[in-house]
């Protein structure tokens, strides 16, 4: 798709689907704020200040979202957490998209023994207990954020591969694929020209579903002490910490939880909107 076509597509979408555009704009805005915000604030997300513990949000000392139980500025911490969360979302979906779609499409299209071997491998990977798998990774390699991405990506692509394989299996029996075979279109060209474009709708929707899943998984790992470590933060660890103080300092929960919910909402609406957009039947 050329740049101009993409622009046109977006212009069309803006007219027909305001929710989609709103969520794209919100996600972009959040990304910018998450990156620029901490640079503008006088505070750092790791500096503690025991004189300023559990301060309610205030403008006077630039604690816009208040402070936590160690006196760290929540505005900066929440945005730093959002950075991590958005990064997880992007990396995990990219991994699951890249591996999952290729793997599933190949298994589904070639079928037979190839399919059987490839999908049994997926079954084996499914059977691995996720937490155990992550702990193993942490023991063998050094604990790092990168490893969290790898762990989440490694699990997420399995679902994608299964879904894409199923879709491919049904697509390849469709009459237009048979017509292409009769014409003499090569196998590779059939996969690229006929199967993949028709998978797009499903894949896009599923990717946007994996994003919230990956975000939640990251929070889970961080909660167990396997993911993001103090003093660094992700929205998951912040919500967890906030939940412990929600009676005396509700802002500790509200700030990261609201942001997390906003991100999840936006990605869900984005998925719905993109599905409508890529479905030729829905275009008028």
């Amino acid at each position: 798709m050329s740049g101009r076509a993409a622009l046109l597509l977006f212009a069309n979408a803006a007219r027909s689907n305001r929710v989609l555009v709103a969520s794209v704009v919100t996600i972009m805005l959040l990304a910018v704020v998450a990156i620029v915000g901490p640079l503008l604030s006088p505070h750092s997300h790791i500096t503690t200040n025991l004189d300023a513990r559990l301060l309610a949000p205030t403008l006077s000392s630039w604690h816009l979202f208040g402070t936590d139980d160690l006196g760290r500025d929540l505005f900066v911490r929440t945005l730093a957490g959002a950075q991590v969360t958005l990064l997880v979302a992007i990396v995990a979906s990219a991994v699951s998209l890249l591996i999952g779609v290729t793997y599933g499409a190949v298994a589904g299209f070639f079928g037979g023994a190839v399919d059987a071997v490839m999908m049994r491998l997926v079954d084996v990977l499914y059977a691995l207990p996720f937490t155990f798998f992550v702990i193993l990774l942490m023991v063998v390699f050094e604990r790092s954020l990168l490893l969290v991405f790898i762990a989440i990506g490694a699990v997420n692509w399995l679902d994608m591969a299964r879904i894409v394989r199923g879709q491919t299996l049904s697509l390849k029996e469709r009459e237009f694929v048979q017509a292409a075979r009769l014409i003499g279109v090569s196998r590779l060209a059939i996969v690229l020209r006929h199967i993949t474009p028709n998978l797009l709708g499903t894949v896009i929707v599923y990717v946007t579903l994996t994003i919230p899943q990956a975000i939640l998984m990251e929070s889970f790992l961080s909660f167990l002490g396997l993911g993001v470590q103090e003093p660094d933060a992700s929205l998951g660890t912040l919500v967890n910490a906030g939940a412990g103080h929600m009676e005396q300092a509700s802002w500790m929960l509200l700030a990261p939880a609201t942001l997390l919910a906003l991100i999840l909402f936006c990605f869900n609406f984005l998925g719905d909107g993109l599905r409508d957009l890529t479905d030729p039947r829905k275009q008028k």
Binding site: R174, E175, F176, Q178, A179, A180, R181, L182, I183, G184, V185, S186, R187, R193, H194, P197, N198, L200, P280, R281, Q283
Partner: protein, 600 residues
């Protein structure tokens, strides 16, 4: 108000149904008197089903309805469910097109009938069971006690439709609305169901509103006929008069399509092209065997058994059979889409590889196929232009982009479309347009043979004629050979030089298409001819022995596969399977072919 209208059982006044700005039924008025049969005919999208749903109060909530539906003088349009439920089943009932969808798959046939009686308080436990069973027997379900306990999926299509009719009639309604009751069925079964409806109607004095796109079925089943188009009434009158002298062009088209080979125009003279005696396509001893796994046990299913055929350049050969006869498997095996096929297929003397993937490009180019569902055979993600251009990318890689665009535009015009259609997607095309695009995609390769697998079965009758005309024009133009797979004898009449009749995977008769209609030689062929509804008006005889449905291909009967349904069966047929015997112009597989005279 006239007396006639006052006595009407059902009177529809100025009924309009619309969805948004889209008016599907436009001020339609008609009346049905007690025990009268009225046909409402129209092509798809004409609003005939919407009319039926409006009468039954089954329209979706987003439909805007106006007018009146008076049942014995009481307006039911817009009435609440409580009132409607008093009328549904007990006063008026409906038979739908697809019995599998209309029956609840989780409830046994018997219980579906019983529940109607119980819900309406018409009978209690034992009495309901007795009446349900009696009703199943009345609609001709063989072995009714067993079918009573069966689930819908265990019944064949015709049996399901019988069960559905039973459930519609069990509460003894005064009006039966049948919405395309036989469209989903095979022709021989279709004839039986129509006969059943006619009988039950006469017996119980039920009024019938028969909704159909096929004017063939209205002949024996209704006294009056209304033809609607785009929601408007365009013609009405006594059925026989309208069919004999249709005044509207749309009706004429529908009559021609339904009458097919019986219309006034003389059957086309088969002009087998000679001079080039070389066979274009030769199929020898083709067998297709599927392995069916049922409950761990493997069962071999012979979808096609030992069939040989040949086609000369410029010739049209039709393969006729009902669903499950193996005709589509045969077509798919020939083009190389079935790994289960055995036997040889050769094109101009070259033996072809079994699978299309291993055939050379030049071979693939020679043999193309047009599928039944035109929309499904076009990639939904591609525009019409790129769909037609794709074969050029494969076979003429050196062609310039401008050259391709020119070729596509020419091709679109050639198949009767306009060049500006190239930007459209498949779902934006009508069925007929989509099939033209599919034909254009095949023809742009200049194939020697085109295999049409029920290529017009999914289309409206008028569009069907146009597509058949297009195929014939292409044949004249480039001596294209056609292998036409169809269940529709009017297609055979119009298109083909030679016909092959298949039954349960076997070739049972092969003959010239002119011969077929004058002098069929196999009893099954005779049955097929008799099953075309309009054909029966010339033959006063009812379908004497048109009983039963094809046996399951998983359990083919011993001996001649047709013997359980055959009117001319002798003991030998039970034991010995007849061989295909070649005679002069054709071939027939029947023990009694020599002695029987089945000509009309």
């Amino acid at each position: 108000m006239t007396t006639a209208a006052r006595n009407a059982l059902l009177e529809v006044r100025e009924l309009s149904v619309s969805y948004g700005d889209n008016v599907v039924v436009d001020k339609l008025s008609f009346a049905i008197h007690a025990s009268e049969a009225l046909s409402l005919a129209g092509e798809s999208g004409s609003g005939k089903s919407q009319t039926a749903l409006a009468i039954m109060g089954l329209l979706p909530p987003n439909a805007k309805v106006s007018g009146e539906v008076l049942f014995e003088g009481r307006n039911l349009l817009g009435a609440g469910n409580t009132l409607l439920n008093e009328y549904r089943a007990r006063r008026m009932a409906m038979v739908f097109q697809d019995p599998m969808a209309a029956l609840n798959p989780y409830v046994t046939i018997g219980n579906q009938l019983r529940r109607i009686l119980l819900n309406h308080g018409l009978a209690d436990g034992a009495e309901a069971t007795r009446r349900a069973l009696a009703m199943l027997k009345r609609v001709g379900l063989p072995d009714a006690e067993r079918q009573y306990r069966a689930y819908p999926h265990e019944l064949s299509g015709g049996m399901r439709q019988r069960a559905l009719i039973a459930s519609a009639l069990i509460a003894e309604p005064q009006l039966l609305i049948a919405d395309e009751p036989t469209t989903a069925l095979d022709v021989t079964v279709q004839a039986q169901i129509l006969q059943l409806i006619a009988e039950l109607r006469r017996e119980n004095n039920i009024a019938l509103l028969l909704i159909t796109h096929d004017l063939g079925v209205v002949w024996t089943n209704s006294e009056r006929l209304m033809v609607i188009d785009k929601g408007r009434l365009i013609e009405q009158g006594a059925t026989r008069e309208v069919l004999a002298n249709p005044s509207q062009p749309r009706t004429v088209q529908m009559v021609t399509a339904a009458g097919g080979f019986l219309s006034a125009s003389a059957p086309r003279q088969a002009t087998s092209p000679d001079g080039r005696p070389k066979e274009l396509l030769e199929v020898k001893n083709l067998t297709v065997t599927f392995t069916e796994r049922t409950g761990g046990r493997r069962k071999r299913l012979h979808a096609v058994q030992d069939i040989s055929l040949s086609i000369r350049p410029g010739e049209t050969v039709a393969i006729v059979g009902e669903s499950g006869s193996g005709k589509s498997s045969l077509a798919r095996a020939v083009v190389g889409l079935l790994p289960e096929a055995a036997g040889t297929v050769s094109l101009l003397g070259t033996n072809l590889h079994r699978m299309v993937g291993s055939r050379t490009k030049s071979i693939r180019r020679q043999m193309q196929m047009v599928f039944q569902d035109p929309v499904a055979s076009l990639d939904p993600a591609m525009s019409t232009g790129s769909i037609i251009a794709e074969p050029l990318l494969v076979h003429e890689p050196s062609m310039s982009r401008a050259g391709r665009e020119r070729a596509v535009a020419e091709m679109l015009v050639r198949v009767g479309l306009t060049a500006d259609l190239k930007v459209r997607y498949a779902h934006e095309l009508s069925g007929g347009q989509a099939q033209r695009v599919a034909i254009a995609r095949a023809l742009i390769m200049k194939p020697a043979i085109l295999i049409c697998d029920e290529a017009v079965a999914a289309l409206d009758s008028s569009v069907r004629q146009e597509i058949l005309g297009l195929l014939q024009a292409e044949q004249q133009r480039s001596s294209l050979s056609l292998l036409v797979i169809t269940h529709d004898l009017s297609v055979v009449q119009q298109m083909s030089h030679r016909v092959m009749i298949m039954y349960m995977g076997r070739l049972i008769e092969m003959t010239g298409s002119h011969e077929l209609f004058r002098r069929p030689r196999h009893p099954y062929t005779r049955l097929l001819l008799d099953s075309v509804p309009l054909a029966r008006r010339s033959r006063a005889a009812d379908l004497a022995a048109a009983t039963g449905e094809p046996a399951s291909i998983l359990n083919p009967p011993a001996g001649c596969v047709f013997h359980p349904r055959c009117a001319h069966m002798i003991d030998r047929c039970r034991e010995e399977s007849p061989q295909l015997e070649h005679t002069g112009t054709g071939a027939v597989a029947c023990h009694r072919a020599a002695e029987l005279d089945l000509s009309s």
